[in-house]
């Protein structure tokens, strides 16, 4: 079986055009990321802030202490007052301090109290709903209280790279195109060369060969996805010149202030990679199913564009998206708020539910492909006289 998978993999994916397309798209991705850096990074916009930031970082950055805050405010307040009166170098220094240190520090410092407040409110609400006999809402609030009870940001890190990396998803588009390209041929190839009938008569044909194709495709999609997500991460890190902040909790980034997760940014990055890969796999299996159903490459290709395009448009139009794999591809939106889904009285986090439905879809699609492969064997052997 392993040899068969390897053979299918080599036949369909280890080809020059596929590899060339991957390399070309990686270059495009790199180009796009450099564009993000040029346009969004504070230090790319105002280069002279960078050295100043690096000089000041040892003084005010790192673990947050009362002393550092006092020092910073003692330096910043007169500077700002002066800068407001006479715009000039003082004003710019104050602006830099405000953007790079004061606001992030204030956010980090206040976050602990805010989180504790949220946890306290959630506990109160849980009690209230308990009295009202609303078990679901009570459980929900207890979960929220648990999530927010001990949150704090103890370190001031340079998280700009993560801030922009986690908002970037052009590579998803490239991966989807590659997946369509790679997978449309998988089942069609033998039909086009009319070798399918021959294949059906072999011992390893029929379902076994279909299973091998399926597994090879899964490996291909996973490999391509991970390659691009990793490339994104490394490129962002190299361009922004720092992988710092991986140890910080995810809520150190303001977008994830009310996130249900409290893992570190690095772990979240890994989780996001996994979720995006799951989303790509769902689309990949859908493309494979189309390839199984059609006789020529053209139709699964156009069909896949239509399918993925309509999913994207549906997501964009804010239609319900729990069953839409695009929500996994753009997974940061799942972690923006604490969002539950009522599953028979048990509160389930939306992202877990989305992942569940995606896995279910994966199983259904794979089963459908295997079933059709078994069926078509019998059918085409009956209809063999036509050809």
């Amino acid at each position: 079986m392993i040899r068969q998978i390897y053979f299918e993999f080599r036949k369909h994916f280890l080809k020059f055009p596929v590899c060339a397309a991957v390399i070309l798209f990686l270059l495009l991705d790199a180009f796009q990321i450099s564009g993000v850096y040029q346009e969004k990074s504070i230090f790319a916009l105002i280069p002279k802030w960078q050295t100043r930031y690096e000089n000041l970082y040892p003084l005010y950055g790192g673990p947050i202490t009362e002393k550092k805050i006092r020092d910073l405010m003692a330096y910043y307040r007169p500077l700002k007052a002066e800068g407001n009166l006479h715009p000039g170098s003082e004003y710019e220094e104050a602006l830099m301090l405000q953007t790079c240190f004061v606001i992030p520090l204030q956010y980090a410092y206040e976050y602990r109290q805010n989180a504790a407040q949220i946890a306290k409110r959630a506990l109160e609400n849980a009690d209230f709903y308990q009295q009202m006999g609303n078990i679901y809402a009570s459980r929900k609030n207890q979960q929220i209280a648990g999530m927010f009870s001990d949150r704090r940001i103890s370190e001031l890190c340079y998280t700009e790279m993560y801030q922009h990396y986690l908002q970037y998803d052009f590579s998803v588009f490239l991966v989807l195109l590659l997946v369509i390209y790679g997978l449309v041929n998988v089942f069609v190839l033998e039909k086009e060369t009319e070798m399918e009938l021959l294949l059906q008569t072999t011992i390893q044909g029929k379902r076994k060969s279909a299973a091998a194709k399926l597994l090879a495709s899964v490996i291909f999609v996973t490999a391509i996805s991970l390659l691009f997500w990793l490339a994104d991460f490394l490129l962002f890190g190299c361009l922004f010149g720092s992988f710092d902040g991986g140890n910080c909790p995810i809520y150190a980034i303001e977008y994830f202030e009310a996130s249900p997760l409290s893992m570190s940014l690095l772990f979240y990055t890994l989780l996001a990679m996994g979720l995006k890969t799951a989303g790509t796999l769902v689309f990949g299996m859908a493309v494979l199913l189309l390839s199984r159903l059609c006789k020529s490459t053209l139709f699964p290709f156009v069909g896949s564009i239509l399918l993925i395009g309509s999913c994207l448009l549906a997501y964009d139009a804010d239609l319900p998206s729990v069953c839409n794999p695009v929500s996994l591809l753009i997974c940061r939106e799942l972690f923006h708020w604490v969002d539950f889904i009522d599953l028979a009285g048990i509160p389930v986090l939306t992202w877990q539910f989305c992942l569940g439905t995606a896995l279910l879809m994966l199983v259904i699609f794979s089963a459908a492909i295997l079933m059709i492969s078994g069926h078509s064997a019998r059918k085409s052997s009956r209809g063999a006289g036509d050809v």
Binding site: L28, Q32, T99, N185, L298, A317, P320, I330, E333
Partner: protein, 643 residues
């Protein structure tokens, strides 16, 4: 089957002679494309989807569409170039309107204070109301006047909706691209797949002769498809919005305000359709080139998709309109645009987002693309000859690699637009059945049931709280029980229906930078008074979102409307929002807002499940039936509030 089909056709292909055979070539190609490969079905689906997209479009200026008659009345008097007299007329009209407005208000105040009788009131308000008759239309025209005033030489006043629909949409015609893939890709691929291409090379009228007709035929098909979709668009738009004053300058449309091209609207339209046609012809050549070279669908379609979609959705306009690919021409509107600038939030400097493409630049790009296309056609022809090849396949693939290199280097030369996205989504599938209920705008902050009394109250810090009071025990507690209450704002209006209370909250977006925040979503929440469970009934996005680094800009942000809400109520299909000037409704399904009733000076509104009752600008009770969508004045009595 396939083999037999083509062998049959190829054999017939070679027999006829004279002028007839040219026609026959066309006939065979047509039969293959539209009959054997079910092309006719795809064309039908294409036309249906084009019509669907057209009919789903919304007017660019809904206010102007709603008050078309009034606007036309004004435009008949002052349409066209803005002269001194026109300016004077508009300013005088504006002054007269505000005077009439205050006269009406004074008269009604006097009446309500008991200073004048109803007859005197009628007399006093008669003239002001005639002056205010076209108020809504005037506001639209006045706004256009404010825009035109900045450059009166180029900005004329006109009914813009039709022209906006034709010219200002940055839409990629997706159905057209898909139908081109379906029709054109098999022209060379099909024969290559069944290995009949070599057979056709051996025939007298096969090879380059046949290939020439194939290319010509594909061009005709592209032209016909383009013409049909453009004709449909033109007919639809001129029928729905009208296309008046085609000789006015292009700059009259606000999105082309900064353009320096001296074009009239018709000229701009013809240029746009010419560019779009050039774009689809270019795509045609790309597809033929790829299929003739590789005889495979997948790499060609991937290449064409990348050439069309990536520049449009991924790259900045500067690159989109520079690449020698079909993408820029298929969108086309950017070639007519003027410079666009924005202010950088961090540095406060103005940044150029888009630089105008001069007419010379446009011609240069056209020539470059045309040269590339001719080269590709030459390669296709060469591929279809039976001669010994002077150039090996290697040379050709080197040349195509050169093109790929040009594509890439051109791509790598610019900058890009990154992604930003916001907010999760939840389901809003809740449809409460509307029983016999009543709603009063004057009670917008108050609702009472047998057990509870709910009130919107401001505390000493002017912060709003929705307070529930238990009527049996007298205990008070907040209605909104969310642990994250710092992340949103609650609006001061509630709506109650049976055991359910509804309130509105707006969440604040923090995704972009630390220096700026904005409203993200509007949520209509339902709270059950039995167990105080809460769920989202309607969720509206208040900001624009970019998806996959692309620019799906679907809706304009409408948040300022919702911030000024006076009250709201809802039924099975819609949420009705009441603001000071109108009552509009939003569908749960589409999230689109449409204005239902326009009533300036709206002072009281009631709702009974089927009808909306409101006081019109003459303070008379009007009944609006939701099923018939009709207003009917109920009584002649003047009142400020319902009794």
């Amino acid at each position: 089957m396939n083999i037999l089909k083509y062998a049959h056709m190829a054999s017939r292909n070679s027999c006829p002679c004279g002028a007839e055979k040219k026609l026959l070539c066309f006939k065979y190609e047509a039969k293959k494309m539209f009959w054997y490969r079910r092309g006719i079905l795809y064309v039908f689906l294409f036309l249906v989807s084009e019509l669907f997209i057209l009919s789903a479009g919304v007017p660019a200026n809904p206010q102007m569409y709603a008050h078309k008659d009034d606007c036309i009345w004004y435009l008949n008097q002052i349409g066209g170039q803005l002269t001194e007299e026109h300016q004077k007329f508009l300013e005088e009209e504006a002054a007269a309107m505000s005077k009439a407005d205050s006269a009406v208000q004074t008269a009604y105040k006097q009446y309500f204070d008991g200073l004048i009788s109803q007859d005197t009131l009628e007399e006093n308000v008669e003239d002001p109301f005639t002056a205010l008759e076209r108020r809504a239309g005037f506001h639209v025209i006045y706004e256009q006047y404010l825009y035109a005033r900045q450059d009166p030489a180029h900005r004329y006043l006109l009914n813009t909706n039709g022209w906006e629909a034709l010219l200002s949409r940055d839409r990629l015609d997706l159905p057209l691209i898909l139908v081109l893939f379906l029709l054109l890709a098999p022209i060379y691929c099909d024969e290559g797949k069944s290995q009949m291409d070599t057979l056709s090379l051996t025939m007298k009228k096969g090879g380059a002769f046949l290939s020439r007709y194939k290319i010509l035929y594909s061009v005709l098909v592209v032209l016909a498809l383009n013409a049909s979709s453009m004709a449909a668009e033109l007919l639809f738009v001129s029928g729905k919005y009208g296309l008046p004053n085609g000789n006015f300058p292009l700059q009259s449309l606000s999105c082309y305000g900064t353009s320096t091209k001296e074009l009239s609207l018709w000229e701009a339209y013809f240029l746009t359709i010419a560019l779009k046609t050039a774009g689809s012809l270019c795509l045609d050549v790309f597809i033929l080139f790829g299929t003739a070279l590789t005889k495979k669908y997948a790499p060609v379609l991937l290449g064409c998709m990348a050439a069309v979609f990536l520049p449009v959705f991924g790259f900045s306009p500067a690159i989109l309109y520079t690449l020698p690919s079909p993408a820029g021409f298929l969108v086309a509107s950017g070639f007519l645009r003027g410079d666009q600038t924005a202010v950088d939030s961090l540095t406060g400097k103005s940044v150029t987002i888009f630089e105008e493409i001069s007419l010379r630049g446009l011609i240069l790009r056209l020539v470059l693309t045309a040269a590339l296309c001719l080269f590709m056609i030459a390669v296709v022809q060469r591929k279809n000859t039976n001669k010994w090849k002077r150039y090996s396949f290697r040379a050709i693939s080197k040349l195509s690699a050169l093109y790929a290199a040009v594509f890439l280097t051109a791509g790598l030369a610019g900058c890009s637009r990154p992604a930003l996205g916001e907010g999760p989504d939840t389901i809003h599938d809740n449809r409460k059945s509307a029983k016999q209920i009543s709603y009063r705008l004057s009670d917008a902050g108050h609702y009472e049931t047998d057990d509870y009394q709910i009130e919107a109250k401001e505390d000493e810090n002017l912060e709003l709280h929705l307070i529930v009071e238990d009527k049996h025990t007298g205990s008070q507690f907040p209605l909104v029980r969310d642990a994250f209450e710092d992340s949103y704002e609650v609006m001061p209006c509630i709506y109650g229906n049976g055991d359910h209370v509804y309130y509105i909250k707006m969440t604040v977006d923090k995704s972009e930078t630390i220096l700026y925040s904005m409203y993200e979503h509007l949520l209509v929440q339902e709270v059950s008074l039995k167990d105080f469970s809460e769920r989202t009934v309607l969720k509206l996005r208040m900001n624009e979102k970019n998806l996959l680094g692309t620019v799906f800009r679907t809706r304009s942000a409408d948040w300022s409307y919702y911030l000024a809400l006076l009250g709201f109520f809802l039924d099975e299909d819609y949420v009705y929002f009441i603001s000071s000037g109108d009552i509009s409704r939003v569908s749960y399904l589409t999230g689109k807002r449409e204005v239902l009733i326009e009533a300036p000076l709206l002072s009281d509104v009631a709702y009974d499940g089927q009808n909306i009752y409101y006081l019109n600008e003459r303070f008379r009770l009007v009944k609006f039936s939701l099923s018939e969508q009709e207003s009917q004045v109920m009584s002649d009595k003047i009142m400020r509030q319902f009794t």
